[in-house]
Amino acid sequence: MTHVKEKDFQQLSDVTVRFAGDSGDGMQLTGTQFSDTTAWIGNDLNTLPDYPAEIRAPAGTLYGVSGFQLHFSSTDIHTPGDTADVLVAMNPAALKKNLPDIKNDGTIIVNSDAFDVKNLKLANYDNNPLDDDSLSGYHVFEVPITSLTANALEGLPLSPKEVSRCKNFFALGLMYWLYDRPLQNTEEWIKSKFKKKPEYVEANSKALQAGHKFGEMTEIFTTRYKVEPAKLPKGIYKNISGNEATALGFLAASVKSGLPLFLGSYPITPASEILQFISNYKNFGAKTFQAEDEIAGITSAIGASFAGHLAITTTSGPGLALKTEAIGLAVMTELPIVVINVQRGGPSTGLPTKTEQADLLQAVYGRNGEAPVCVLAARTPRDCFNMAIEASRIALKYMTPVILLTDGYLANGSEPWRIPHVDEITEIKVDFRKDPEGFYPYSRDENLARPWAIPGTPNLEHRIGGLEKSNIYGNVSYDPDNHDKMVKLRTQKVKNIRNDIPDLKIDGEQSGELLVLGWGGTYGTIKEAVAKANNAGLNVSQAHLHYINPLPKNTEAVLNNYKKVLIPEINLGQLARLIRGEFLIRVEQLNIVRGLPLKVNDILEKITELLGGGNGK
């Protein structure tokens, strides 16, 4: 028996790990397990799943590579990391595709078994990169993961294919060893996941343990790493993705408003999960309707809203385009609905599994006629929870459609969430109109909202529809002055929401050289870039919009307090255009549209450039 040297422990404050392999290698699962365990032991974390639209692209190809990056730390963090410290590459294609995103001097763990002639060729490698010096700038660890997994599972009644499918758990076990994480969480997950297949429970657990043990026994790893728990505020936490937080937010809004939830939706990446989650909440009375198409998704929701439900529809860009006409109908009939657009790369089918922010103008303006709707944007995965509740509150109070924008990165990414208690969540007050005395379908309250009189209420029978209605009385009206009045009333109603939302908050100096203004999923990246700039002595502040239509009341004043305003976006300048149009001020742009989150470094460079390397002097 060989003597195993005691391994050293090295303390790190944060690490970025990327798992990469074939779409069939279970990399998303491996990444999610590593994230859940990492969250559970108390690190802060932020994740970026990055996978192809094809479910099982041909094995070994570059376009079939699926990746999962996570950044975890002992301090507060906000991004999945620009570049990774560690890459776990299950085959040559995964190595080739991900190498550009690995830090110089970073660590690469490869499944050396997979570096055979066929796979090298599929990845367009002329030479085996493990044999030449192309990886000399990295710490490369060659681990024969496939054969070690096979050895560990010898004697189990599994086919070679089934054995091979356990190798991701071997890799996970090794990474757990390397970063000193417990196996328990994943072992329990395996048990419940494969409840009906005890042989899989045994095989996957064995592979996991074998990976862990390999780390311990092998000579090639001499150091292990420790990342202490982060100091998060007191409370009970769980790791949550944006889509799950969105679903829970609407469930909470349903409970807090006392209205049953109705979700009309058509499956679309990356929004389908919300429909899947809510389908589980039947015991809350939630009704999920998987419609025949996107149009039916929203139109059924409008019907349910007419009948008095908290009605929502979920989609992504191309689906939002299809829902356009129906959103106009909800504007005209002044019925509350929430449209959730989990943005992805566009136009057209675009990049279904990638993130983007290019639907902003579509959300704000994309309808025929003057059709104002309230537009909100969530900024982090856990923020989706709050914004779902806020979107519901506004829709119900103002009798208006609300579009809630999230994106692929928020939807699939996850982070620790301090779970709120039910009594910490504000009630949403809803009054259905009951009194026939003086009832008119288009009379208005102090917020300009019309009464919600639902079918089944005696003596309030009335007709609504997409044709222009006369003010107050609600009869069809083609009168020019009435139309002018109604167009303005509908617009004013949405504007009035300004009086009901928080001011735009500034992080950093309240005035100065430069403000970085953002919206949506770029929040964390901007925050880290601004923090780095501040550390470097630059005078930069951050403000991030939750509310885009209407903008918070103090927006103009905030912008005017800075000499320069920079708006970084994953589009070609859509918020920048809105801000310029609204306030006639000059704004600087940073626009990178790669289907991926912005990088801290890109923003930092732009900040430095705008400040001329110093503080604008």
Partner: protein, 345 residues
């Protein structure tokens, strides 16, 4: 005065269903007759208070219908009435939900929603005003216009084949399928009653004359000297007899329907095809739907098929009930704090 706790159904009259809006269809339009028969029959048709009735429509002449009914109403967007109605019905299965629609609305832009509402058996009543033309956009051919029709958009005649709405709904597994004619008030009243009484998706096609853009489209079925020889009134359990002197009948030769003379002694009523509305298979109803593909055969009106299966809205409500019983009433605190949690102190 309003009393929100009223539960009994008052004795309504036709005028209770008439709204204060001026009806704006062209004088002579078949839509007037449909509105009149609906208002006349509704006191009997709806077994609920009128605040529980909702009329929903899409776009087109027929889709103005909800404005004229003193019930809840929703004039939607083109083609979407069946799905708007589905949303209302799923949200509140206690409502009696009706759709007023036209051939362009239901079968062209709204075709997808219609077949899926049929497939799902949503408990809504779909009344199709089929005038085989686009009226509101002033006279273009519709998906039920006959091939070769000359209209503004087909000056050399249309080259497309029409939909057969009865066959389409049968093929989509609608649980109730019927047809009537605007010029036959008595029959239409009967069909509206049957439609309203059905539990599940009920589809009623009404041949409706657009006297402005497609006048006389159904004249063989409505004019005195031709109607009896061209119309077959379907009656359950009755042999299929038609003709001015009730001297002709339909006989099934295998699956092929033929017309026989029952006045000359060669055939009697006993030889005729006996209509069964409740047939387990849709086959016979589909043969009936295509009866007049052969111009020598009459056009059937009446109930083609009726059968029963769980409604979609009922299914959703039952599933909610079942899950509540199994898992208990939803507890938000439990759901929020479920899963892998950890505590930070």
């Amino acid at each position: 005065m309003a009393n929100n706790t009223e539960t009994t159904t008052p004795k309504y009259k036709a005028k209770d269903f008439s709204s204060d809006q001026d009806v704006r269809w062209c004088p002579g339009c078949g839509d007037y007759s449909i509105l009149a028969q609906v208002q006349r029959t509704f006191p009997e048709v709806i077994e609920t208070r009128k605040e529980n009735v909702v009329w929903i429509s899409g776009i087109g002449c027929s889709s103005r219908f909800p404005y004229y009914m003193d019930t809840y109403g929703f004039h939607g967007i083109h083609g979407r009435a069946p799905i708007l109605a589905s949303g209302v019905k799923i949200a509140n299965p206690d409502l009696s939900v009706w759709v007023a629609t036209g051939d362009g609305d239901l079968l062209s832009i709204g075709g997808n929603h219609f077949i899926h509402a049929c497939r799902k058996n949503v408990d809504i009543k779909v009344v199709l005003f089929n005038n085989r033309i686009y009226g509101l956009t002033k006279g273009q051919y519709s998906p039920t216009s006959e091939k070769g029709k000359v209209t503004k958009t087909t000056p050399f005649g249309s080259v497309d084949y029409p939909f057969n709405p009865i066959s389409l709904s049968l093929g989509s597994d609608a649980t109730f399928v019927a047809r009537s004619i605007d010029r036959n008030p008595k029959h239409m009243q009967e069909m509206i009653k049957r439609t309203g009484a059905h539990k599940g998706l009920a589809f009623l096609e009404i041949f409706q004359n657009c006297n402005i853009f497609n006048d006389g489209a159904f004249s063989v079925l409505t004019e005195k000297d031709t109607k009896d020889d061209h119309t077959l009134f379907l009656e359950n359990d009755k042999p299929m007899v038609f003709g001015k002197n009730q001297d002709k009948g339909i006989k099934l030769d295998g699956l092929k329907p033929i017309v026989v003379d029952i006045s000359n002694g060669k055939y009697s009523k006993d030889d005729l095809w006996v209509h069964n509305e409740f047939s387990v298979s849709p086959t016979h109803a589909i043969i009936l739907a295509h009866l007049d593909d052969n111009k020598d055969l009459p056009t059937p009106v009446g109930v083609f098929r009726q059968y029963f299966k769980e409604t979609y809205d009922g299914g959703i409500a039952n599933q909610i009930k079942y899950v509540k019983e199994k898992k208990g009433e939803g507890d938000l605190e439990k759901v929020l704090f479920g899963g892998n949690t950890w505590e930070v102190d």
